[in-house]
Amino acid sequence: MTDKQRLEKFKRLQEMINGAEAEEFKHYWDGRFFTGDMTFIFDKTPYTMYFFKGTMIDVEIGKPVNGYNVGIKGTQEQWDDFFAHRNFQLSISVKHCANPFEELGSALTNRQNNTVVAQVMRLTAKAICD
C-alpha cells in the first residue's frame, strides 16, 4: 500500500468516526472529550488526524506543527501484527509484547487519552483491513 493509498483509508476512517461509529466512539470510548491531534506513524510516514470534541475535522500526511500531542509510531510489521490481533493494550505493553509500539507525546497525555486512542486504533484497523 502506498502512502497516498493509506491516506485514502484514513479518509474512510474519518467517515466512520463521524458517521456510523460516532455514537459509540463519542459516548462509550470517551471520544467526545477529545479535541486536538492524534498521529499514527507507519514506518516513516506520519498521518495526523485533527479532532474537535470527537469529530474528526481533517487528516493529512505530516507532523503536527506544534509537535506530537498523542499517537502511535510503529513499523509496517508492528502495524500488521496489531491488525491481526487488534488488541491495543497488548500492542503497547512492554510486559507482554516483544516489539511494542512507541507512544508519541507525553506519558501524561497518553495516559489521559488511552481509551480514545485505543478505539481510534481499532477503527483504523477496520478502515484499512476490512
Binding site: 470510548w29 470517551d30 472529550f33 488488541n87 491495543f88 493494550q89 497488548l90 505493553s93 512492554v94 510486559k95 507482554h96 506519558a107 501524561l108 495516559r111 489521559q112 487519552n113 488511552n114 481509551t115 485505543a118 478505539q119
Partner: protein, 272 residues
C-alpha cells in the same frame, strides 16, 4: 439465606466483609479475595451458587469498597503486609479451615499466603507467583493512576474492557465495567505496586496444601506461561491441578461463577 455484610476491626482498620451465610462444609470455608481496585461484590455470583453448599466470606481489602484505608488514606503497597492482613482477618473471623481463593493481584498473593500460613487449600485465578519489574516507563504509568490530571476510571476503561472474555454474559460485563467506574486511583496504584516486582517463587516449596490454579484463556494479561513457574515450583503440595477455561478472561469469577464453582467443588471433593 441472602448475602449479608458486616464490619470487623482488623489491625485497627474497619474492614467490610460479606458472607452468603452458607452451611459449614467439611471441605472448609471459602475466603475470597478481589482483584486490584475492586471489592468483594465480585464474589456475589459464587456466593449465590454456593448458598446451600459452602460458607463463603469475602472482604474488601483496606481502601477498597466499604473498608477504611490505612492511616494517611492509602492502601497496602507491600505484599507481606497484604497477606498478613488477610491472615489476621481469617483469625479475627475465627475461620478455622480457610480455603483461600483470589484473582489477579489477589491470586498472586494466594501463593504466598498458602506458603506462609496454614490454609486448608488455595485457589489462584489469573495469577502468577512472579511478575517482574518493567522498568521506569511502567512505574510512571502506575504513578499516573493517582495523578491529579488523570481520571483513573476513564484512562483504565479500555484496559479492563480488553481483559474480558468473549463468553462473558452482558450483565457480568456491565458489572465489571461498573467496577472501573468506581475505582480509586490511589487504591489502584497501591495494588499495582504490589502486582509488579512480585516474586515469591522461592516460597512455593513451602506450600503443602491442595492447590488449584485456574486460567481464563482469553486473558492476554495473564498468558499461559505465567503458570509454568508455579507448576514447576510447587513440589510439596498435597495436590496440584491446573485448569484452563476457554472463552473467559481476567475477571473469571465474575464472568463465569458457575464454571469456577464447579471446578473448585470438584477439586475439593477430590482432596478427600
Amino acid at each position: 439465606m441472602a448475602i449479608t455484610g458486616g464490619y470487623i476491626v482488623i489491625n485497627g482498620i474497619k474492614t467490610y466483609y460479606e458472607t452468603n451465610n452458607g452451611p459449614a462444609n467439611p471441605q472448609g470455608t471459602i475466603v475470597a479475595l478481589h482483584t486490584a481496585g475492586r471489592d468483594c461484590r465480585q464474589y456475589h455470583g459464587m456466593m449465590d451458587i454456593w448458598a446451600n453448599q459452602y460458607t463463603v466470606v469475602a472482604l474488601d481489602m483496606p481502601a477498597h469498597g466499604k473498608s477504611w484505608p490505612l492511616p494517611g488514606n492509602v492502601g497496602i503497597s507491600d505484599y507481606r503486609q497484604y497477606n498478613q492482613f488477610v491472615w489476621d482477618f481469617i483469625q479475627g473471623m475465627e475461620i478455622k479451615d480457610p480455603i483461600v481463593i483470589g484473582c489477579s493481584v489477589a491470586g498472586n498473593m494466594v501463593y504466598h499466603i498458602a506458603a506462609t500460613y496454614p490454609v486448608r487449600a488455595m485457589v489462584a485465578m489469573q495469577a502468577s507467583p512472579r511478575i517482574k519489574a518493567m522498568g521506569t516507563s511502567y512505574g510512571a504509568t502506575v504513578d499516573l493512576l493517582d495523578h491529579p490530571y488523570v481520571s483513573c476510571q476513564h484512562s483504565h476503561w479500555d484496559f479492563s474492557e480488553s481483559l474480558i472474555g468473549s463468553k462473558c454474559p452482558s450483565d457480568a460485563h456491565d458489572f465489571i465495567m461498573w467496577g472501573v467506574c468506581q475505582e480509586c486511583g490511589r487504591t489502584k496504584k497501591a495494588d499495582l505496586s504490589i502486582y509488579n516486582n512480585y516474586d515469591v517463587t522461592e516460597h512455593l516449596k513451602n506450600i503443602i496444601c491442595p492447590c488449584l490454579l485456574i486460567r481464563g484463556e482469553e486473558d492476554w494479561n495473564v498468558p499461559a506461561h505465567y503458570y509454568e513457574t508455579a507448576m514447576k515450583s510447587i513440589v510439596n503440595a498435597e495436590k496440584l491441578e491446573f485448569q484452563s477455561v476457554p472463552g473467559y478472561g481476567h475477571f473469571i469469577m465474575v464472568e463465569a461463577p458457575e464454571v469456577i464453582c464447579g471446578l473448585i467443588d470438584h477439586f475439593l471433593k477430590g482432596c478427600d
